[in-house]
Structures are given as structure tokens and as C-alpha cells.
């Protein structure tokens, strides 16, 4: 995976998240943080380092080890007018809070009109030898649960702007931040306050031959593959979804209408994943404009393994995209 060379004024993906939290806490006193080890320790990945000293123990709450309990508490605080941002430490642990997220946060507004303006930050994804309990991409579980918004940024700019938008949104938002990108991806950010609106995909590279529809760390693999393929005369368009719910169908459809071929790429397991839904949507709504089969690239249906060769086999690779694009280009 390519990483941008650090230049003066550039911030990492991790720093962008930290900046978003800091700026939103300074801007709105209703915003507060909850999670395990986020206070004195500064968070497992140091996103909230220094926040406890700056904002105090009632805006940066170290919680007991109880994901369901503190997500539930965030729901209650949100309904009372605060703007909680919960850190899940590792996205894998979100399974412990699944019930509160899907049954309470997602349904309260629909059932009885109570808005639940909260954010759950879920550091997700592999490539860091985390093994089956520290590398998961659990977005598929929530993609299927109406009432939640899902965000998955790929760049520092998007990471900051989408987190700010998520905090300002009146709904429960799960913010999937990719651990592999934390310190590997850097760019310069605007000085002024900005948000990246939820529900708007971004064309990270324009191209005419094949659309690669993806999000999170996979965006960078797609961009790398595009560079390789450019030498062969295959011009990839890389569509970064940025937000999984609401899903920006318009941008997906307009890209595929232009290229007439689609690769759907993600890091979550293949079966029943976000890619399956996008493939089905394309088959339903864009059949007439397709000049080849929709190709899905995703890990096999196994837990994320630990050992290097196993994890390398598991995760999609640039070469997978290149090979798929060659086949599809020749179709």
C-alpha cells in the first residue's frame, strides 16, 4: 500500500480524527467522550491523548469494561440533549453492544420519536496482525439494521470532515475508522472548520473503463491498482463510498453508467456483505448499462487470521484488483 510522503503541515488519519474530536468538543459543550482507557491513557491508539487534562473527567469518561452498558448510557445521555461520542477501542468488541445499538439506538426514533444523536467510533480492519478479535470489519452487521448511519473514511480529510458531520447528525452513527490507515496516510487539511456531508460518495480517481466501488483502506489498494493498470491502457474509476448508510446510489450508478463495468471491493467477509448489496443494486437498476459481470473482491468467509501468510492470503491485494480488472477489461 502506498503512503504519502509527509510534508510540512500534513496530519495523519489518526491526528485528523483527534482534531475533529477536539474541535467539536471546543465548539459544542454538549459533546463528551466515553470509552475504555480513553482518559489518563489517552485511548488504545492515543486518539484522545491530552483530552482528560483539557476537558476534565466528566467530558472524557473512562468507563468500566462494559460495552453494552456504556453504549446504553450514551443513548440515554443523547436523548437528554448531550452529544456522546463513544470509543469502542476495537470494532470487534462492538458485538458486546450489538443489542443496545440495534434494538435501542436504531429503533427509538422510529418507535416513539426519540432522536438519539450519538457517535460510536469503531477502529476496524486488518493488516495489523490483530487476529480474530482485533481485526474485524463488522459493518455488515449494522448495514442490515435500519435506523443507523454508517461511515467509513479513507483519508485524513474525509476522516475529519465525516466525524464532525457524524457528531452534528441527530441520529446514531457508527464511525468505522481504519486502524491500518492511522499512521500510514497523511495529508494537509484546511485551516477552517469544514464537514464532509454524510451520504455523499467521492470519486477518488476518475476513469473511463471500470468502476471500482469501495471504502476504507481498500480505497488505497484500488488507487494503487489503477496506477499499475494505467500503463496497460485500463482506466479505473475509484468510487469511495465514504458513507455506507445513507448509500450514495446516485454516484455509484452514474459512475457505472459511464464505465459500464463494475468491481465491488471490500475488506469485510464476502457473503452478505456491503458488496453483495451493491452488486444486487447494480443488477436491479443498472443492468442495461453493464457490459460485463459485476465482480466482487472480498476476503473469504473466515475470521481474520493472525499469522502473516494467513492474513496476507485473507486480505484483498492490489494484484487481485489488477487481475480482476484485466479479466473484466477483456470481457
Amino acid at each position: 500500500m502506498t503512503t504519502t510522503t509527509q510534508a510540512a503541515g500534513e496530519v495523519s488519519y489518526l491526528e485528523a480524527i483527534s482534531q475533529a474530536l477536539d474541535e467539536e468538543m471546543a465548539r459544542d459543550e454538549r459533546v463528551f467522550l466515553m470509552g475504555e482507557d480513553i482518559g489518563a491513557y489517552g485511548g488504545a491508539f492515543k486518539i484522545t491523548e491530552g483530552f482528560l487534562e483539557k476537558y476534565g473527567e466528566w467530558r472524557v469518561l473512562d468507563t468500566p469494561l462494559c460495552e453494552s452498558g456504556f453504549v446504553g448510557a450514551a443513548i440515554g445521555a443523547a436523548m437528554m440533549g448531550l452529544r456522546p461520542v463513544v470509543e469502542m477501542q476495537f470494532a470487534d468488541f462492538i458485538s458486546c453492544a450489538f443489542d443496545q445499538i440495534t434494538e435501542v439506538a436504531a429503533k427509538n426514533h422510529y418507535r416513539w420519536g426519540a432522536a438519539v444523536p450519538m457517535v460510536i467510533r469503531a477502529p476496524f480492519g486488518g493488516g495489523v496482525h490483530g487476529g480474530p478479535f482485533h481485526s474485524e470489519c463488522p459493518e455488515g452487521w449494522f448495514f442490515h439494521s435500519p435506523g443507523l448511519k454508517l461511515v467509513a473514511p479513507s483519508t485524513p480529510y474525509d476522516a475529519k470532515g465525516l466525524l464532525k458531520a457524524a457528531i452534528r447528525d441527530p441520529n446514531p452513527v457508527i464511525y468505522f475508522e481504519h486502524k491500518f490507515l492511522y499512521r500510514r496516510i497523511k495529508s494537509s487539511l484546511p485551516e477552517e472548520d469544514y464537514v464532509v456531508p454524510l451520504g455523499k460518495a467521492d470519486i477518488k480517481r476518475t476513469g473511463n473503463d471500470i468502476s471500482v466501488i469501495t471504502y476504507g483502506a481498500m480505497v488505497h489498494l484500488a488507487l494503487e491498482a489503477a496506477q499499475t493498470l494505467a500503463h496497460e491502457g485500463i482506466d479505473l474509476e475509484v468510487v469511495d463510498l465514504r458513507t455506507l448508510i445513507p448509500l450514495d446510489k446516485e454516484t455509484i450508478y452514474s459512475s457505472v453508467s459511464k464505465t459500464s463495468k463494475a468491481i465491488v471491493l471490500h475488506e469485510d467477509n464476502k457473503t452478505g456483505g456491503v458488496g453483495a448489496e451493491i452488486s444486487a443494486l447494480l443488477a436491479e437498476d443498472c443492468f442495461d448499462c453493464l457490459d460485463g459481470p459485476i465482480v466482487r473482491i472480498a476476503p473469504p468467509d473466515t475470521p481474520v487470521p493472525f499469522s502473516t501468510p494467513l492474513e496476507e492470503f485473507f486480505l484483498p491485494k492490489t494484484s487481485d484488483i489488477v487481475a480482476a480488472a484485466r479479466r473484466l477489461g477483456a470481457y
Binding site: 469518561l61 468500566p64 453494552s68 452498558g69 448510557a73 440515554g76 443496545q100 416513539w112 432522536a115 435506523g147
Partner: protein
């Protein structure tokens, strides 16, 4: 303590008002049961028959700005917070005028403006949520309290324990209660927990707790008042175990044959309404004639509610699409 002695701590008007709500709850739920038996209600019917004193007692002890996260046999709390019999009946009939506009049924209703959290079937799920509301009050320095409950069965869930522990660690202004009616659906207490009392579970979290006669209106009210005062004073959460008995099945389709009849006979003698009437008489606050007047009044109110609910429109099918997401959270 003798209940007449406790009751002297309660104002006469408050006691009479609570008696009215006991009667209104009983009349409304008996009417709902009758409608169910006539096949006019789709979905489940869960009543608090025999347990009315709990919700009426604690909801009367709270201030208007406080929050209630009721258990599903707490109809009295909804009524005290201003849900009308008509709205409740509309909810049961799936009408557009019910608090959830037909999106949800029976006691699954709530309203932030009236300070009542919508009940969640996953028992104990609202306890962490209640702790979070109390956390908001603590962060903002408000002197508001949350009163949140579940049943004996719900006290076995992880969320019950996570909520109690979190609230205790942060000394949050919340009162947890348990309606211990001895059966979780058909599961008796002895198969639910190996400890004798639900309140024993609070000890593990360093939380003071108390066993209260849930069929004694005055005892519930006084215990709730004390726990609420403690929470408001910043001394943290309290746990109240209201001992009672579920006199109907889990829902009205359940004949509850698993409950020994003699146990029901025994608890029938402890009916909270009879107890309340004895108390009012002993205090000289009311007699048979007064009780009859209240019975007649609530009957009229319930019948007006039935009329309202029956004449209310059903929601339109496409309304199903509305409200998945909020456009703003400004109503807070």
C-alpha cells in the same frame, strides 16, 4: 412498619390522588383485557393486575422533570405522566392517535416530553439508558433523577449488571427498581437466581438496597421518596426490590397454569387496591361511598377512551416508511 404509620408521612391529597390512579389503572387494564378477549386487540396484552401500587407509588414520588424508564407492568406511571386512557387504548388498537402512531404496540410507548422512556422488550436494556440519562443530569449539574426498572427475570441480564455497576462507580442520580412478581413468564424465581432476594444482587455493586412490599402503596411511595432524595443529594443510586405477585399470566393469552392456585389465593388477599382502601379508611380519608365515586369516575373516563380509540383512524400503510431517521434532535 405499620402502614398507617408510614402513611402519616404522606399528604392526604397525594394519597387520594394515588388511589384514583390505582383505580384508573385497574379499570383501564381490565377493559383492555376484555377487548382482548373479544378479539378486538391484535398483539399481546400485558397487565399489572395486582401490581398497580408499584408504578402508582413511585411515579407519584417523582418530580415532573424527573425521568421514568418504566417496566412493562407499570401502566400507572404512564397515566400519572399524562398518557390518557384514550391514547393508551389507541396504542393497543394500533391506531394513528397512539403514542407510537401504530409503529409499536401495547405498553411499548414513550414520550420524551412527558419524561417517559419507551419500553424495550429486551428486558433490562433500558437500565444502561437510564444510567446515561442520569449521567447527563450529573454532567450538567441538574438536580433531576431517573427511576428505572425491570422484573426479576430481567435482573439476570448483563445489561442489568452493567448499568448498576456503571451508575454506582459514577454515583449517578438513578433509582433502580425490580418488580419481583415471582415469575418471569413461566420461570419461577428459584430457577432465575440462586440468591434469596433480587436486592442481594445490588450489594455486589456497593449499592444500598431495600425490600419493599410492592402491594403497599404507602410503603412504595415512601421508599421511592427516600431513594429519590438520596439520588438528588448526589449520594448515588439505590436499588428497590418491590415484592409482589403477577395475578394474570405473562400476557393475556397465558393461563399461567404453572402458578399454584393457592399462591394466587394468598396474594388475592393482599390486593393493592383493597390494601389502599383499608389504609384510607383507617386514616379517615375516605369510605365506601368515596371509593364507589372513584370507581364510577374512572369507568366513565375509560369508556370515553374506548370511544376515542375506536373512532381514531388507523395509520396508512405507507406511514411505515416514516421516521427511521430523525431530521433534527431539536425537540430535546
Amino acid at each position: 412498619m405499620d402502614c398507617a404509620v408510614i402513611a402519616r408521612e404522606i399528604k392526604r391529597d397525594d394519597l387520594l390522588q394515588m388511589y384514583y390512579y390505582l383505580r384508573l389503572t385497574r379499570a383501564l387494564e381490565d377493559r383492555i383485557t376484555a377487548l382482548y378477549r373479544q378479539g378486538r386487540i391484535v398483539g399481546g396484552v400485558y397487565t399489572s393486575h395486582g401490581m398497580e401500587a408499584i408504578a402508582v407509588g413511585y411515579a407519584s414520588a417523582l418530580e415532573r422533570d424527573d425521568i421514568i424508564a418504566p417496566f412493562h407492568r407499570d401502566m400507572g406511571a404512564f397515566l400519572i405522566r399524562g398518557f390518557t386512557p384514550g391514547e393508551v387504548l389507541a396504542q393497543y388498537l394500533g391506531k394513528k392517535t397512539g403514542p407510537t402512531k401504530g409503529k409499536d404496540g401495547n405498553v411499548h410507548m414513550g414520550d420524551l416530553k412527558r419524561g417517559v422512556f419507551g419500553f424495550v422488550s429486551h428486558l433490562a436494556d433500558n437500565l444502561p439508558v437510564a444510567a446515561g440519562a442520569a449521567l447527563a443530569f450529573k454532567i450538567r449539574g441538574e438536580s433531576r433523577v431517573v427511576f428505572a426498572g425491570t422484573g426479576d427475570g430481567g435482573s439476570s441480564r448483563g445489561d442489568f449488571h452493567e448499568a448498576m455497576n456503571f451508575a454506582a462507580v459514577r454515583k449517578l442520580p438513578v433509582v433502580f427498581f425490580c418488580n419481583n412478581n415471582q415469575y418471569a413468564y413461566s420461570t419461577p424465581l428459584r430457577l432465575q437466581m440462586a440468591v434469596a432476594n433480587v436486592v442481594d444482587r445490588a450489594q455486589a455493586y456497593g449499592m444500598p438496597g431495600e425490600i419493599v412490599d410492592g402491594n403497599d402503596l404507602a410503603a412504595v411511595y415512601v421508599a421511592a421518596k427516600q431513594a429519590i432524595a438520596r439520588a438528588r443529594a448526589g449520594e448515588g443510586p439505590t436499588f428497590l426490590e418491590f415484592k409482589t405477585m403477577r395475578m394474570h399470566g405473562h400476557s393475556e393469552h397465558d393461563p399461567a397454569k404453572y402458578v399454584p392456585r393457592e399462591l394466587l389465593e394468598e396474594w388475592k388477599m393482599k390486593d393493592p387496591i383493597l390494601k389502599a382502601e383499608k389504609l384510607l379508611q383507617s386514616l379517615g380519608y375516605g369510605g365506601e361511598r368515596y371509593f364507589q365515586e372513584v370507581v364510577d369516575r374512572v369507568k366513565r373516563e375509560v369508556e370515553a377512551g374506548v370511544e376515542f380509540a375506536q373512532q381514531s383512524p388507523l395509520p396508512e400503510g405507507p406511514d411505515v416508511l416514516l421516521g427511521v431517521f430523525a431530521d433534527s434532535a431539536d425537540s430535546h
